[in-house]
């Protein structure tokens, strides 16, 4: 067993469970800033933990956990900001005033609201404020490759923006609509 890997997993678990001290959180932050593989591991654990918690509470009929709203502001925000900035740049490019003239069939409806989602500071991974009933948490798809897919609800019900992000490079590859 890789001791370093085990130590990292313990640190990640303590952070995810809200048991880490400030020093431990800072240590994890430094590690994630310096090590893309550690960052990937953290994101996978974080996302899987959130999904497992949601699935268990749904199956057991329990209310939503408040703990996930109290995660320390860690690499998800910083890491996400990099992808967010890139995605926002692409969204700006996609906005009506920048698009080439042509049929408006693939106009980016609600791009302003999506851009609001992606504005740094609009991320509320560790916010404690209550969420509206219609809130739909963004989902992240992981395909076992270095690409992540961030799914954000668009304005029209049942439609979504998919942001494909290269995790290693932390930039958005493309954005497209999905259903």
């Amino acid at each position: 067993m890789n001791t370093d890997r085990e130590q990292l997993e313990h640190l990640i678990t303590r952070v995810l469970d809200g048991e880490a001290t400030a020093m431990e959180r800072a240590a994890l932050q430094r590690r994630l800033d310096a090590d893309p593989l550690a960052r990937r591991l953290f994101e996978e654990h974080r996302a899987l933990d959130a999904l497992a918690g949601e699935a268990l509470r749904a199956a057991a009929g329990c209310p939503a956990s408040r703990r996930h709203l109290q995660l320390p502001q860690l690499p998800w925000v910083r890491y996400g900001l990099g992808a967010v900035a890139a995605a926002a740049a692409i969204l700006i490019w996609l906005s009506p005033q920048h698009r080439p003239a042509g049929p408006a069939r693939e106009a980016a409806p609600g791009h302003a609201s999506v851009a609001n989602w992606l504005r740094p500071g609009a991320l509320t991974a560790d916010a404690i404020a209550p969420l509206p009933a219609s809130f739909e948490r963004p989902q992240v798809r992981v395909r076992g490759s270095q690409q992540d897919y961030i799914v954000l609800p668009a304005d029209q019900p049942g439609t979504y923006w998919i942001i494909e992000v290269d995790r290693e490079q932390t930039h958005a590859i493309r954005i497209y609509r999905d259903y």
Binding site: H10, A55, L56, A58, A59, C62, S65, R141, G144
Partner: protein, 188 residues
């Protein structure tokens, strides 16, 4: 002695002496997490109600045997776990025509999303629940208790009779196993 420990002591003693009010209070304060233990042991939400009733019946029958009221939580955990295991063993001996509800039907999606997304999400949840269910019990139970009750390591340790370090290690193992089981399968 902390205030909480005092309160627990008084309620348990009163319940042992037949106080209906104290008994009701015990159920109110502990039923939710007892149910989470049942779910953690069985992995089947449709069994929880029936087993919970059996648990509380056993609690009232055996409460007099609890010598130290401060050990109420660990004692309740033991009763709940053993009851759940007994019922699970008994159920396995019977022939079942239909799979439990959460194996058979997609979970209810309350988000109001489109059917395709709702189906994808319910499939994902089903896959994750199956993975959790297949974890070894010593990893599954602290993992489920952590998620269903938002308990700290100390709280889980108290109920399971473990050290805090052991709880942490078991949660690390649970997450590592889930990640291995779901690697490449998860498109969230």
């Amino acid at each position: 002695m902390s205030i909480d420990a005092d309160a627990v002591h008084e309620v348990v003693r009163a319940a042992q002496q037949g106080s209906r009010q104290a008994a009701d209070r015990l159920v109110r304060e502990h039923d939710a997490w007892v149910r989470s233990v049942i779910y953690a042991v069985t992995g089947r939400s449709d069994d929880v109600d029936d087993i919970a009733q059996q648990v509380w019946t056993r609690v009232w029958e055996r409460l007099g045997s609890l010598e130290n009221p401060r050990q109420l939580r660990s004692w309740l955990y033991t009763v709940a776990r053993n009851t759940a295991l007994d019922v699970s063993m008994s159920n396995r001996r019977r022939t079942r025509r239909a799979a439990p509800l959460d194996e058979q039907m997609p979970l209810v999606d309350r988000s109001g999303t489109c059917p395709v997304t709702a189906a994808s999400r319910s499939e994902l949840q089903h896959m994750i629940l199956e993975a959790v269910r297949s974890l070894p019990a010593l990893y599954r139970e602290p993992f489920v208790l952590r998620h269903l009750n938002d308990w700290s390591y100390a709280q889980i340790a108290e109920v399971l009779g473990l050290s805090v370090e052991s709880v942490e290690t078991r949660l690390v193992r649970a997450r590592a196993l889930l990640r291995e089981m779901l690697a490449g399968k998860v498109q969230r």
